[in-house]
């Protein structure tokens, strides 16, 4: 009933694959209300993270996350780079030295990570950003936990909440990031960052479903 170091590595690897698969999809979403790079940036970043996996084989979860964050920070660029960099760096802080994570550990790590993203980007719920997928996911995790759900059930709820958050962004007018320049014209399009956040959290639920 916990996430091992190897599970974490698996998650990162699966995430890299999923972002590669969704590269053009994310580019298309970003082209509509941004600058058509989100998919390429995330793919480049996770490709670089993949190159770091060998040296992480025997490291603790904190180190894995921190290395992931640092690598994203120096390879993704754009808004996604500092935000996702921060996300993983914060996860790393909260899981420093750990070789596995319980549901509670994961809640603590993800909550801190999402707070880090909010601190860095200063986006509020409803601003049409990745925060709209990330925050509900943390809330769903907490609720599932207090309802006594299992780790894998909680992860499913969390991914589901992220997906709903992502879909909810469609009608909204963006208030942060590049899409905000569009004003009303940003309505009707799904936010690319919320989409990549959902994909990452769905990858966690899928990879860790037997944990």
């Amino acid at each position: 009933m916990s996430i091992s170091r190897d599970d974490v590595l698996d998650w990162i690897q699966v995430t890299a694959g999923i972002l590669k698969e969704n590269r053009d999809y994310l580019i298309k979403l970003d082209a509509a209300i941004g600058d058509a790079d989100h998919g390429a940036n995330m793919d480049r970043g996770f490709k670089a993270v993949m190159g770091k996996l060998p040296e992480l084989a025997d490291k603790d979860i904190g180190t894995i996350f921190k290395t992931t964050g640092m690598t994203l920070l120096s390879t993704v660029g754009g808004a996604g780079g500092p935000l996702y960099g921060t996300l993983y760096l914060q996860m790393g802080m909260k899981s420093a030295g750990k070789m596995d994570l319980t549901l509670e550990d994961w809640i603590v790590a993800l909550q801190a990570a999402v707070e880090g993203v909010v601190m860095r980007g200063k986006a509020e719920l409803g601003d049409k950003t990745m925060v709209d997928a990330l925050s509900p996911a943390v809330e769903a995790l907490k609720e599932a936990s207090s309802n006594g759900r299992s780790l894998s059930e909680a992860l499913e709820y969390s991914a589901k909440a992220a997906e709903e958050g992502m879909t909810a962004t469609i009608p909204w007018v963006a208030k942060k990031g590049r899409a905000s320049y569009l004003g009303e014209r940003s309505a009707g399009h799904q936010d690319p960052g919320a989409t990549s956040s959902y994909l990452i959290l769905q990858a966690a639920a899928d990879t860790w479903k037997d944990c």
Binding site: I27, A31, G34, S74, G77, G78, G81, R120, R178, Y181
Partner: protein, 333 residues
């Protein structure tokens, strides 16, 4: 996609290799992390100037590294902000002991990356200041958005701040010059065609043969509105109106008029645009004391123009006229 490139993933690296081969007397190029810096960096006792941003806007910023302008520039991937590690290394490379100014364009990504880099550089004991340029009047309701984008005024800020640094001014004095440009510069752009991002391979937006996009950004972001294609003079009026109605200055003031090509628009069309823009300035009693016409902030191969007005006082005139010697801008040397 018709581009003069090899592998879309190699566009930035190969462009930098071209710059390194072409201008070894002026600049050096560091790879991994990528940045372009003055061949004689760091200049002892001089304030260092760093800018950066996504690639695809050449000559900005790498083409403006050299005497009298930037000390270094960090190129990101095409249209993506560079990363903090690039900025940190570049900042260290150009710090001549008088501190470093980061000239940042107002995009969420650029700001966050530059902020992180500044924190890291400060932690290493370098005196870093940052000024964010946000001159694009196409962005309305800027209180409810990420604010105005940074566009044309950025190049002008790099020129005059570069001169100020060269003249031995202190970091806070150079910051003051930059803040003046930030306050006195206003821009607006339009696109006749979309750009095509190399790693995407198709145009960022579809613009029918008889339509144009007004208020477009320099990354192919959609603009204020899409409308029927108009004659050049009407387009210039549509660009100048929001600029002039937003200007913090008045009839009788001196201005620099900058007509910028977006990459796919040839000089003959820029001069047709300039003609009308100059006439509109005159109608409003603005004295065009300097001008600047050419593809200085491009958006890859996008066809279109942007117009920037900057109020000029005596000091800005002196700084503008100061010699400059960079791959993309040169006079007096």
């Amino acid at each position: 996609m018709k581009k003069f490139i090899n592998d879309p993933e190699m566009v930035v690296k190969e462009e930098l290799e071209g710059v390194a081969l072409a201008h070894p007397d002026l600049v050096k190029v560091n790879f991994d992390p990528d940045f372009v810096y003055r061949a004689d960096a760091p200049v002892k006792g001089k304030v260092g100037l760093l800018s950066g941003g996504g690639s695809g806007h050449e000559p900005m910023h790498g083409g403006f590294v050299g005497y009298g302008m930037l000390d270094a520039a960090c190129p990101g991937a095409v249209f993506s902000s560079p990363t903090p590690d690039q900025m940190l290394e570049a900042t260290k490379m150009i710090d001549g002991g008088a501190g470093v100014l980061h000239i940042v364009k107002n995009y969420t990504g650029d700001i966050m990356n530059f902020e992180m880099a500044a924190d890291l550089a400060k932690a290493e004991g370098i005196n870093v200041e940052a000024v964010v340029i946000d001159d694009d009047v196409a962005v309305q309701d800027s209180l409810y958005t990420a604010g105005r984008r940074g566009v044309g005024s950025t190049v002008l800020a790099e020129k005059v701040c570069g001169a100020a640094a060269e003249l031995g001014r202190s970091l806070s004095e150079v910051v003051d010059v930059c803040i003046k440009v930030k306050g006195w510069g206003r821009s607006m752009g339009m696109a006749l065609t979309s750009c095509t991002v190399p790693h995407v391979g198709t145009p960022t937006f579809d613009l029918p043969e008889d339509e144009m996009e007004i208020g477009v950004g320099i990354h192919g972001e959609p603009g204020r509105k899409r409308m029927e294609l108009k004659p050049a003079d009407e387009i210039v009026e549509m660009l100048m109106e929001p600029i002039i109605s937003d200007l913090p200055y008045k009839a009788g003031d001196n201005v620099l008029l900058f007509v910028n090509g977006m990459g796919g628009t040839p000089p003959i069309e820029l001069y047709i645009a300039y003609r009308k823009a100059h006439q509109i300035c005159e109608q409003h009693g603005l004295n065009v004391v300097r001008n600047f016409i050419g593809p200085y902030i491009t958006s890859l191969d996008m066809a279109g123009v942007s117009i920037t007005l900057l109020k000029m006082d005596e000091d800005l005139l002196t700084l503008w006229d100061h010699p400059v010697l960079t791959p993309g801008l040169r006079w007096g040397k």
